[in-house]
């Protein structure tokens, strides 16, 4: 029971890291290597507001989300749009966007270091909470609940609304979407901006229980990449399920075998998925 609850909570954390990248990569086709930095930026906002004016990260979230949405929209519009226009095929766009966002990640790290070079560490709801006899940290539980809310909302929006359907259509085929009158440019920008906003909000929530610093983003990028590829590019369900599996397996290995083997276990699953289902758990086979 302990393992299932702790594992699911960790899975929630992972889902927060990966849902945004899934949208950005799956729909806008931008392999965003600055994803982790966007997450850390959300954490930095939470930390700054908390230590300066004692603003609860749960409120900071509502500042971070629109700000990150706008920032990511601008990034897409002015930095990435030219790459999209220039790219002759998807492969080229991926290479270009990897290089561009890789550079962007350094710029973001530099900006954040100049604001706060040390650790973003503060204490928020670090209280024990008991579910079914298992003690969990309240801040982790809240992050998990938020991950569920964001995941559900995103899923419903994608599957029950017209703009959501347009986003899914672009994820399937941007060329065919154009033919049926979808404004692919706008939908891509929307998906990229929304993805960035989710990632930044994830960072705000994660900062309540993980100590971050300006340079730690790359670790989150890696984890998010693994989850997105495991789950299947462009499918939000895949990212959430992959995150939950990863959380459960890591916790089980740490509790039952040895904490030292968590990383090995995570990569083993990743390897198995790549070997037996290279398109990811929910991915479509490439045509």
């Amino acid at each position: 029971m302990d393992i299932i609850i702790s594992g699911l909570l960790l899975g929630g954390t992972y889902a927060l890291m990966a849902m945004g990248l899934n949208l950005q990569y799956g729909v806008a086709r931008i392999m965003n290597l600055a994803n982790g930095e966007m997450l850390v930026l959300g954490a930095l906002a939470a930390f700054t507001f908390y230590v300066s004016i004692q603003l609860s990260p749960l409120l900071t979230m509502f500042i971070v989300a629109p700000a990150a949405f706008l920032l990511n929209w601008l990034i897409y519009r002015f930095l990435l749009r030219p790459l999209v226009r220039r790219a002759k095929n998807q492969g080229q766009l991926e290479v270009d966007s990897i290089l561009a966002t890789f550079g962007m990640s350094f710029a973001l790290v530099g900006i954040m270091v100049s604001i706060q070079g040390g650790y973003f560490t503060y204490s928020f709801l670090a209280d024990p909470f008991s579910i079914l006899g298992t003690t969990v940290a309240l801040n982790r539980l809240i992050a998990f609940i938020m991950a569920v809310i964001i995941g559900l909302a995103l899923y419903l929006w994608l599957h029950r609304s017209r703009p959501g359907m347009a986003v899914r259509a672009v994820a399937v085929s941007s060329d065919a979407s154009k033919l049926v009158g979808i404004n692919v440019v706008r939908v891509s920008a929307l998906a990229f901006a929304l993805g960035g906003a989710i990632t930044a909000v994830g960072g705000t929530l994660i900062s309540t229980f993980i100590t971050l610093d300006a340079s730690i983003g790359v670790i989150f990028t890696m984890k998010a990449l693994i989850i997105v590829i495991m789950g299947g590019v462009g499918d939000i369900r895949g990212a959430i399920i992959a995150a939950a599996i990863l959380g459960l397996v890591e916790t089980a290995v740490a509790s039952l075998i040895d904490p030292g083997l968590t990383l090995a276990a995570a990569y083993l699953i990743f390897l198995l998925v790549l070997l037996f289902r290279p398109q990811g758990l929910f991915g479509r086979r490439a045509t």
């Binding site: 040390g118 560490t121 024990p128 003690t135 610093d213 300006a214 670790i219 890591e250 740490a254 904490p259």
Partner: protein, 403 residues
Amino acid sequence: MNRRNFVAAAAKTVAAAGMAALLAGTALAADTIKLGAVAPKTGPLAGGSTVTHWPSIQLWVKQTNDKGGLTLKDGQKKIELIEYDDKTDPGEHIKAVQRAITQDEVDFLIAPYGTGFNVAVAPIYAKYGYPQIAVTSISDLVGELTERYPGLFFTLGDTTSFVNGVKDILVKMRDEGTIGNKIAMVNVADAFGIELADVARPIFTEAGFDIVYDKSYPLGTPDLSPVVKGAKAANPDAFVAWSYPPDTFAITEQAAIEDLDVKAFYTAVATAFPAYGGKFGSKINGVLGAGGVNPDTPAIAEYRKAHKEITGQEADYWASANTYASMQILGQAIEAVGSTDREAVTQYLKENEFDTIMGPIVFDEQISNRFWTVGQWQDGVFRGVASSNIDGAVPVIAKPGWE
């Protein structure tokens, strides 16, 4: 003007400005002592170096320049500090050091942050004849290294004396009847944590302790609750974590949440950071950690006050003071020699006693045996409870619980 022309023109302007700055720098060079500092400002170790390393260097340079600089035979000279970010990358670090030596032609270098970096650059410092007063560097290889590199000095102790400090405190608590025999020990799975755990295992066992839980976890583990739960299930009397900054915070938070009720709770690096006290407040009263300081001596009190005033942040309760002391040592050696003759300064370092904020420091075979090993949070201050040759250790208290 199209975009390409514009970029080219802009580049030329920047280059010209850079040349002008460079020329101005050369003209000034004769009147200053150039100090090169290469350490992380970004990357995994940046969080620690921006607390412990950079502020003390900047503080010392500012204070020295405010009183006119260092007095040499040919008059007073101000310090020109040249800083490079090594991005916590040994390759970048070595490039930056070479650049500082060959292009900036710095007179002296400030030793890097972190054990691995100090060991990695020792051959380059030695090749060019720069003294290296290593601070944030703890290893059991210090004897071997100082023998190989005649300009390398150590000031923060070695792994064995570090672990012995912890063992002595635990033995003392056991003799007083505060704790029993059972220790739960965890370590971060990187060079630092592995070396400490390897050294600690036989030392603890020899001292009659029973290690009931002994696990490692990868650096950057996002959820340490299985580790803390496992340790708690082993029902220990004392908990020791050879941990690094992000996990030091995470382990402590989990221990409070799980109510890991031990009378001796030890986490390693970052326990001495002011941010640690700031994050946990009164919860961590009685937590033991690496380092320590005696904040009541006038020199340390004055240093901590200046640190706060000038750099805007608090000094940590461990290696901040050692870092500042290493700068004092270098400055005093340069002044005593009266020039930037590196060979003479190195020789002077080996043979003399230095007056620092941590008291008098001498090097015995290039190693200073004056450092703190264990500290404890007591009423909002992290005080030294075990040291090597420093007075002022306070008695250790039993951890009163996580409230």
